[in-house]
């Protein structure tokens, strides 16, 4: 983990630049919206402040629910990368998995001595690659979409045939999960932790569905991971 410590400071600089871009974009769109409102008077002052409040409140719940996973991400890849990756597009769980796949591709385990600066850079690359194509997609598709609002809706409805895309994503995702999880099936506590996490995940998300409690649902992965950590650690200590 020396590599991450050494590079964390530099990563923070790049994180600040990238997050700055997120804020600049939000402000540019906000200015455009307020300018347009002056011209058209489409929305009242009260409604604007209601929109601000709704936006602010809705950010709080999901932010807290990802806290635990974000904490694990800090342990695994450092605070700089966590801020950079969670401040743009990524969600902590997704980023954690992408980091794992990247290190796995090089045949290196997190926390091992082989986890060098080069492998860490590869992980940052993998995490960036996992979401950057979204940017390109919006650049290419959104403008034409606005021009064919009606037509695109029709086309989406027409596409009733069987598509290969869901097969491909299921195959790739299942294959990678199977391939990655075997790395951890070397010790009994890890295997137990795997199943504990899985069963807790199902239990909590089914409970959330039954209670119609969305907050509990969004916490289900975090709860599953914490119980896996406790189970794994307790077993390690018992087995000594």
């Amino acid at each position: 983990m020396e590599a991450i410590k050494n590079m964390n400071g530099t990563v923070w600089v790049f994180a600040a630049i990238l997050i700055g871009m997120v804020i600049v974009q939000a402000l540019l769109f906000l200015r455009l919206a307020l300018n347009m409102n002056k011209k058209t008077n489409a929305v009242s002052k009260e409604e604007i402040s209601q929109a601000v409040k709704t936006g602010a409140v809705s950010a709080i719940g999901p932010a807290f629910s990802t806290l635990t996973i974000a904490l694990s991400l800090i342990v695994m890849v450092g605070s700089g990368v966590t801020f950079m990756r969670c401040g743009v597009i990524g969600a902590p769980a997704w980023e954690l998995m992408m980091a794992q796949f990247s290190a796995g591709a090089a045949g290196v385990e997190f926390g091992s001595a082989e986890f060098t600066e080069s492998i860490f850079t590869l992980c940052i690359f993998g995490m960036t690659l996992a979401s950057a194509p979204y940017f390109i997609n919006t650049i290419i598709t959104l403008k034409p979409l606005d021009k064919v609002v009606a037509k695109s809706a029709e086309a989406a409805q027409k596409g009733g045939g069987r598509s290969f895309v869901p097969y491909m994503s299921n195959a790739a995702m299942s294959g990678l999960l199977g391939y990655s999880v075997l790395d951890y099936f070397t010790a009994v506590p890890s295997i137990i932790a795997f199943f504990v996490s899985g069963f807790v995940m199902i239990f909590v998300s089914n409970l959330a569905k039954k209670l119609k409690n969305n907050t509990l649902g969004s916490f289900s992965m975090a709860i599953a991971m914490i119980t896996a950590m406790i189970a794994g650690q307790v077993l390690t200590m018992i087995m000594g």
Partner: protein
């Protein structure tokens, strides 16, 4: 003023507003959106470029290829379809903002949906666009402030945590993988169907992992080979299901 006059004035106003919407607002949205997304794309890769080319932290080309193949094959379906799925609710400006700042499903989408229904504002109008942009911009700023507090606080928290808690982080990854796999088992369509849908690929991956482990030459390509063969298997199963579709039609 007669009622007719009021109506015609309102009609003229909305017509003027619609003209502003179509001829000024929408082109400006795309100018801001495209420029900022292009800039962000470059900035996102900047740390990697710096570490590889300036600092010389170069992992092998084959591991980069493996990462590209593996992540592209997971991501491509989402990259292509996800923004388009949210676009009808977020609008173009909201989609640009959402796909730069992230958390679309959990944060931006609920904000947009909530505001538009409370204020009775359609996204294809000036009114709908303005409330959506304001709401999403607000959620982005609050989210970033909270994130900064969490990350800085988190680092401090990690510093004071006892050793036994730190050691338990060794089980984070296996816990994550466990919850991901079982979550997919538990998804839409029922457990039995999902397990059956994933089992062939999981099994193939496990077999390949053992086989590839025995062949040193393949070790750095293991993940790419596994994904490639799983997708090939996916194609076979897809063709089989297409055939079934055709037979049921007959």
């Amino acid at each position: 003023m007669s009622e007719n006059n009021v109506n015609s004035i309102q009609a003229a106003e909305t017509e003027a507003a619609q003209k502003i919407y179509k001829d000024i607002f929408i082109p400006k949205v795309h100018r801001i959106g495209r420029l900022t997304m292009a800039a962000a794309f470059v900035l996102a890769f900047l740390p990697v470029i710096y570490f590889v080319f300036v600092k010389g932290y170069m992992a092998s080309a084959s591991s980069y290829m493996s990462v590209i193949v593996a992540i592209s094959s997971i991501g491509i379906g989402m990259w292509l379809t996800e923004p388009l799925a949210y676009w009808p609710v977020l609008g173009s400006a909201g989609t640009y903002m959402g796909y730069l700042s992230g958390n679309v499903g959990a944060m931006r989408f609920p904000v947009a949906l909530n505001l538009q229904s409370v204020m009775n504002a359609n996204i294809n109008t000036m009114r709908g666009q303005i409330v959506t942009i304001v709401g999403i911009a607000s959620s982005i700023v609050v989210n970033l402030v909270l994130l900064l507090i969490f990350v800085l606080g988190g680092e401090w928290l990690i510093g004071i945590l006892p050793e036994v808690v730190m050691a338990s982080f060794a089980f984070v990854m296996v816990g994550l993988l466990g919850s991901m796999i079982f979550m997919r088992f538990n998804g839409e369509g029922g457990m039995a169907k999902n397990v059956k849908g994933m089992a062939p690929y999981l099994l193939l991956a496990v077999i390949l992992k053992f086989v590839i482990g025995k062949i040193p030459a393949l070790s750095t390509w293991g993940m790419a080979v596994t994904v490639g063969l799983c997708i090939a298997l996916g194609y076979v199963l897809y063709k089989r299901d297409c055939k079934k579709d055709a037979e049921t039609v007959k």
